[in-house]
Amino acid sequence: MRFSLKKSPSRFSILPEIIAILLAFFIGALILLFSGYSPLVAFSALFRGAFGSRNAWGQTLTQATPILFTALAFLLTFRAGIFNIGVEGQFLMGAMASALAGAYFSGLPAPLHITLSLLLGGAMGALWGLIPALLKVYLGAHEVITTMMMSYIASYLTSYLVNYPFKAPGWVAQTEPVAKTALLPKILPPTQLSLSFIISLFLALLVSFFLFHTYLGFQIRAVGLNPEVAENRGIAIKNRQILAFLLSGLIAGIGGGGEILGVHGRFVDGFSPGYGWDGIAVSLVGKLHPGGCVLASILFGMLRAGGMTMTRVTKVPLDLSLIIQALVIILVSAPYFIRAVILRRRDF
């Protein structure tokens, strides 16, 4: 058996992905048609809301940012052969840690305060990733279930923290606002787009460099491609899997922190509409490559941001965006279906 690391999925044709995305929009159009809306009006409002102006772009990229973080987090573990579907939990725990660090540390200069808060978020996310990592490596607990359970625990735990011990006075379940020195600068006012977006792009580059141009990244990919061969070549598999989990949690945690320090300014109960779950989809739509993740996260950011405009202008329920997202996820992850049914190829 030999490694064939050069043949990474990103080198294959992206035709099935493009067809899948178009098909998802087509089915979305059918649903609109059957429920009495005009797909043309709805989709043009959606695209205008996503890309029609400088502000629209700002909204789209703001929505894309947390999804890019979670997609990169999912990607890193996936490349090590681990199905970490607990990114949402790592994202939430990171967000909470950053929110608390941002609110309760004081007297620090802004760059230091921001860095410290983000890193604490990252550390918390990494810790949340470490638990399923240890459970998998030492006790053989399947990560798909443990990470999912960890996600739900994180969701209820952060909800508890924001409803009880760290609740700011008032009727809304939210923490105290973070200090001015911890707020990430906005880069496209008046939109919410913050430095977090630049950080996420930078991380995409970094992950790409790490996976494809460093020895450690090579080892992680080797473990994912074929653990037995990797072990024979002397790679400490357990070690590398734990590392992948830690890095994944770190990125997701920083993403959570970036969302708090960049957009919300405090931890608000239920602020994440499932960015961690979106990340899984984006990672797969992006063909498990950081560059692809950037593009796919913009697609999903577009659905979220454009969806809001669509709802305001045409009264089409916002949930159409969710439906299209779901269809993209299902169709993109079934390339054999696209090849066999749409492209009429029998050689799958």
């Binding site: 006790l139 359970m149 739900y152 899984i280 329920p317 439906i323 996820i329």
Partner: protein, 307 residues
């Protein structure tokens, strides 16, 4: 304040009610996993069935027709899951995640379109309750088990029948073989893909019944995201129950009790509900870690590619 304020007849009755959707979904998840498919999409399947049941009951005026619509919706999403994962080797987790997002989006979209609010539908007639005359004569057990929705009794029948089916019929033996060792099953002349498809669809249909219970028995309307994570709790119950029908039922009772307790405590305001809500997930992790008995899945969940 005594302990009886928490442990009384009404909370035990609530336990049985809240265990019902979990039992259906856990049994459904079990059938899927027994043939080697993880059904992460239980949540979305339940939610969609809950919606279609109310949809059909609202426009037909009959809760029986609502029930049928919920069953059909479970079958349809099950068929999609089966087709994509078994025939086209798509990733089970991803398709399941897609189904969950679809369920949430589609039900809210339709709810908004039909009733003008994505929060909740109008009320419909629920499924009837069953009053069993001889049960009333049994002390303690009688009042506990009597006068529940017809679906509660159906869930009892479902887990007993599933147990019999799985362990005492040739089909049950074959379906276990398909999950545990598809190659051998294939060699023995069992149509592996066919078995996988049938039981993924059956399992999803059972999960759909859990959704129907929520919208036509627990509440008599559809509410946004009304499954509220029960699909995932059901997966947890299935693991805690070690992928057996009786285990699924007992674990569902336990988690149903947690749910009932959580509601009670919320009204009393003595402990944060979040802490109780996260317990089932924590227990599942401890189970998987081997700290509370060993949990070994019945299959390695790989798609079966016939050579």
């Amino acid at each position: 304040m005594g302990i009886e304020i928490l442990f009384n007849l009404s909370i035990l009755q609530a336990t049985i009610r809240m265990a019902t959707p979990l039992t259906f979904a856990a049994l459904g998840g079990m059938f899927c996993e027994r043939v080697g498919v993880i059904n992460i999409g239980l949540e979305g399947i339940m939610l969609n069935s809950a919606f279609w049941a109310v949809f059909a009951a609202y426009f037909s005026g009959s809760s029986g027709i609502g029930f049928l619509a919920g069953v059909l919706s479970g079958m349809a999403l099950g068929a999609i899951l089966a087709l994509f994962t078994v025939k086209y080797y798509a990733d089970q987790i991803v398709i399941g995640t897609g189904i969950n997002i679809f369920g949430l989006g589609f039900s809210a979209f339709m709810c908004q379109k039909i009733w003008g609010s994505r929060g909740a539908s109008e009320a419909v007639a629920g499924l009837p309750s069953l009053s069993i005359p001889f049960l009333d004569r049994i002390p303690y057990l009688g009042p506990l088990l009597n006068n529940h929705s017809i679906l509660v009794y159906l869930s009892f029948l479902a887990f007993i029948f599933a147990h019999y089916f799985l362990f005492y019929t040739p089909w049950g033996l074959r379906l276990r073989a398909v999950g545990e060792n598809p190659q051998s099953a294939d060699t023995a002349g069992i149509n592996v893909h066919w078995y996988k498809m049938i039981f993924v669809i059956l399992g999803s249909t059972l999960a759909g019944l859990g959704g129907v219970f929520l919208s036509l028995a627990h509440l008599n309307f559809f509410a946004w995201g009304m499954t509220n994570g029960r699909g995932f709790i059901a997966l947890a119950a299935m693991i805690f129950g070690k992928w057996t029908p009786i285990g699924c039922f007992l674990a569902s009772l336990l988690f149903g009790f947690a749910d009932a307790l959580q509601m009670r405590i919320q009204t009393l305001g003595i402990l944060p509900p979040q802490i109780i809500l996260l317990l089932p997930y924590l227990i599942t992790i401890l189970v998987l870690a081997g700290l509370v008995g060993k949990a070994t899945p019945p299959s390695d969940y790989k798609p079966y590619i016939k050579k």
